[in-house]
Structures are given as structure tokens and as C-alpha cells.
Subunit: 153 residues, 2 copies
């Protein structure tokens, strides 16, 4: 597959995880971690069922991945997420040493729907770090917004 | 006690928690949560022992406090921390609904010692939120830097 098709394929899997999150009573966010073209961990938002405001998909993903992977291995991972990471999750991604992030829905698209929260881009956080994190933005693909339009309105 | 003395008293307790973190093999950070002039939760950095890069004092504090307190009660809490919260912890503080943060050592003081990490102020994150978080900065009190000077150099 082309890079583009590979990215969209993994993002579609994140969207499925986001849908599964909603089905289990949580918020519509899903994420997964890829190393050497293999999914090494998946996660979904669990804020409601765990009664834990920090249980965002990306933070949970990192907490889970650390059990399986070394710090060295995490550096070679790409984190895919259905929606751009918030400041909390961007910070966690930075501390985990992950070097690449690919997202679907953007912070501004989400904010336009929810009208509250933290309106800060992941790259604004990453830019303040002393190591580089590559970011790919697929927010021009409109399918990642729909789940939020259905959920929050 | 005056407000100032109360704040410095709680920050001194955070420093003791930071020292305890170092004694148990972790990084020098401690935090606690106060409601109605009573400490309702304490926490320290557990990154090394838990093998979890997200186990910062403030994030752990919020995860613990949620078990005991309702979302309404969290709003009335003040979070004290030996060092200004990073982007990850600032995000967690925002999502937890906490309305006031008091810190000792500042991000820039820490950064000058460690020379790596995420150089973003907690207020830069809070400023992007749709609700206000009050921040009190006690970094002019030099005792909160010393623990970092001893640890990271």
C-alpha cells in the first residue's frame, strides 16, 4: 500500500475504536500504536466507565504500550489517533519518546462542535519540546468529524 | 495563618513528598490537593518504580483524588505542587475541573537545570481552556529549585 493508504487504513481502525468507545458508554476517541507496519497496542477513551478524566485514548495507549515495549522501541512507533491529541495526551506522547503522530479530526474541528475544552494544537505543545515529533494531519478527510457531530450535538 | 503562610506551608509539604519520591528511586516532584483547608490527597512522582512516563505527581494526584471526590468537589480544590505542572499535567488539571494551582519551582527554572523536556508554562495551556484556572507562582522562593539542582546535575 502507499503511505497515504496505510495512514488512512490505520486511522479507519482508530475510528472503529472510537465507535466501540461510544458503544461502551465513553467518548468518541480511539488510538493505536504501530511499529514496523504492525499494530502493537490499541486503546479507546474510557473516561466514563473508569470514572477517570485522564483516561483519554492516547494516554491509555501509552500506559498500555509501556508494559510491552522498551523506551527504545517506543521511539520507533507511530501513534495514530481518530482526533488530534489534547495538551495532556500531547505531553504524554512527548514523554513517551514517540516520534510520529497521525491524526484524523483536528482540535479546531472538534472545538467548533463541542464549544468547550482546551483549544491548543498538539504541535503547539510538541514545538516546546527539545526533540522533534513529526505530525501528519488528515483533517481534510471529513469522515473523522462525523462521529463528533453525531455524539456531541 | 495568613494566605501566604498557608500556601508556603502546603508547598513545603510538596517538597517533602518530592524528597520521598527521590528516596524511593523516582524523580523529585510532589503534589497535594487541598479542600476547605484540609489535605484530601497527596502524591509523588512514580515514573521509575511504575515504569510509566505518565506517572507524574499531579497526574497521579488527580487519578487518586477522583476515587474520593466528586467532580463538584474537585472544582473547590487547590492543587499544590513542588514544581510547575508540565503540559500533560496541566491538561489533566484542566480536565479534572480544578480551579486553582500553586507551585514552587517554575518550568523555566527547571529547564535551566535539566536542559531538556517540554518548555511550556502551565498558564500557556490553561489560557487555551474555556474556563479560568487561577495560578500562584512561588518560584521567587529559592528552596524549591535546590532539590532539582541536587538531583539533575
Amino acid at each position: 500500500m502507499s503511505n497515504q493508504r496505510t495512514h488512512l487504513n490505520y486511522l479507519a481502525q482508530c475510528l472503529d475504536l472510537a465507535k466501540a468507545a461510544v458503544e461502551s458508554g465513553n467518548h468518541p476517541f480511539g488510538a493505536l500504536l504501530v511499529k514496523d507496519d504492525r499494530v502493537v497496542a490499541t486503546s479507546k477513551n474510557e473516561v466514563v466507565v473508569l470514572h477517570d478524566v485522564t483516561a483519554h485514548a492516547e494516554l491509555r495507549l501509552i500506559q498500555k504500550a509501556q508494559v510491552e515495549l522498551t523506551a527504545e522501541e517506543l521511539k520507533d512507533c507511530t501513534l495514530y489517533t481518530s482526533t488530534e491529541p489534547c495538551a495532556m495526551c500531547s505531553g504524554a506522547i512527548y514523554w513517551a519518546g514517540i516520534s510520529k503522530v497521525v491524526y484524523g479530526c483536528s482540535t479546531s474541528q472538534l472545538f467548533n462542535i463541542v464549544k468547550s475544552g482546551l483549544f491548543i494544537k498538539a504541535e503547539e505543545v510538541f514545538f516546546k519540546g527539545t526533540r522533534k515529533i513529526e505530525v501528519l494531519d488528515y483533517s481534510h478527510e471529513k469522515k473523522f468529524i462525523k462521529i463528533h457531530e453525531n455524539f456531541w450535538r
